[in-house]
Symmetry: C2
Subunit: 302 residues, 2 copies
């Protein structure tokens, strides 16, 4: 076992023979939109992301579906599976079956296996001092999904968020192969603060994030400014707050963006600052238009 449960990394990495390691991950989510095909796509992209965050290539996926027997259209279920299959195929992997369980509320996800060279995978806890921190997708999916479900924000305002969540991190990971990447994680349920702290956890380093540089969805900021808070944000804040300094200096930005739980978020990358602007350009070219340097890795004063 190269990466296990002890480092809060994105997935398990297990060397199966010399030169070949398996990446194993599983992720299940509740519906994030009304379109079942798109939900299937986003659930798949979200589950596949952990493999990309480790620098690997997905090879095999299994569907995991929990659904209310009495209260779901079988056509919707098929659409979810079709959507997931489309993204698994785009990832270059195959679906090998799946598992269903009865549930009161619909949930869907995938168990994914990927491969990586044991000497070439990316850890989440090996950034180096003076590295630049790059984020490849805007933050704010958590509050936006809730706002969409509760208040029916218009489809056209939600559309960029859906598009971002349905975008594989595959092309970002491929672009990053040209650079001396030190550490990577994907930003998901624990938000930027939680996954950022994961990046710094096993070292004597800290992350200096410039909130005005962090890419965000405009509509998400609007809802945060209106005071909409979701449970996940509160939980993420509670579990990270004591390790964060300087929150009191934040002006003109809702600090909630640090804690907003992301579905199918982008990659948070630590690489030499000299390579940062070239890497950002490469990532933008690869389709991640909002990619930005959001800070740097510094020595911890703790």
């Amino acid at each position: 076992m190269l990466v296990g449960a002890d480092t809060s990394d994105d997935a398990a990495v297990y060397q199966i023979i010399p030169g070949l390691a398996l990446i194993s991950t599983v992720d299940i989510i509740s519906p994030v939109c009304n379109d079942p095909y798109l939900f299937g796509q986003i659930a798949a992209v979200n589950a596949l992301s952990d493999v990309y965050a480790m620098g690997g290539s997905p090879i095999l996926a299994l569907n995991i579906c929990a659904f209310p027997v009495s209260n779901i259209d079988k056509k919707d279920l098929s659409k979810i599976l079709e959507g997931a299959a489309s993204k698994v195929e785009e990832a270059g992997a195959v679906i090998g079956g799946g598992h269903s369980i009865k549930d009161q509320e619909l949930k869907f996800g995938l168990s994914v296996i990927g491969t990586v060279h044991p000497l070439q995978f990316w850890r989440n806890n090996t950034p180096q001092v003076k590295d630049a921190l790059i984020l490849t997708k805007p933050l704010g999916t958590g509050v936006a999904i809730t706002a969409y479900k509760k208040e029916h924000i218009s489809e056209d305002k939600f559309e960029p968020i859906l598009r971002s969540m349905a975008t594989l991190n595959k092309y970002a990971a491929a672009s990053l192969r040209d650079f001396d990447v030190h550490a990577v994680t994907d930003v998901t349920g624990f938000g930027l603060a939680g996954h950022g702290l994961g990046l710094a956890q096993s070292s004597d380093l800290a992350l200096k994030i410039r909130l005005n540089l962090v890419p965000t969805f405009e509509v998400s900021i609007d809802y945060m400014n209106k005071g909409l808070r979701i449970g996940g944000t509160l939980g993420n804040e509670m579990s990270t707050l004591e390790k964060i300094k300087g929150l009191e200096n934040i002006k003109n930005h809702p600090k909630d963006i640090l804690f907003d739980p992301q579905t199918s978020g982008g990659l948070l990358v630590s690489l030499p600052s000299k390579q940062a602007s070239e890497a950002v350009e490469a990532l933008k070219k690869a389709g991640y238009a909002h990619t930005s340097v959001i800070g740097e890795v510094i020595k911890s004063k703790a």
Copy 2:
């Protein structure tokens, strides 16, 4: 891909390099008993079973936990994980982390990866005519779990069922390596009828089951005779009934036993009838005391 979603087999099998194939499976269940440690064990044994049914060895597992945040004791969660870990260790595999999701009702399971030689794995759909059919664990867990939850059948009557569900199919699979096994499946949610039909599905064969030879839990038969029917049994009956002949000849046995959904059931094995009695002895010796020849493979008249 050697075995995919198209044959209703127990898990996906994917050749990763010459001489090495991966088996991938995922299984999640609702609680089957009040003891969280034992529930964790049974959920793990249930999830690991698919790997053994394919003739493989588990190497890596991820926990999947869906639980109500407000309504669960964290100690219970720890116990579930400990129970699962104990069985993953007994299986010779490691746990590489896991995934949690909020849910209204507790559910737990694992995603499991195993390995097998691409030329040596067992399919579920390759029995041969005149094969003997062997079942390694008694049937009746479905109705018993429901009876236990609803009517609180005594712990001592439920104990043999718990013990059976907590027994890995590992030792059965190992014993079977000494015989010319033609096909294997594990009997789980679709019951003996459903998984039996899976065995016969891709051939011109049929299974002749002698119900009086099928091992069953006494307390389960009692509840079936009292008229207790569970949803899973009804569903399994509806989806298999038209492919089953001779049900009208059954006397002195509740036919429900054919359809009862199993949790962590035994292996249903098809092998040359000449080897049957020796195989039964080996399986009994390996700890599966109720192992029995339950029928044979015949030519289909359809």
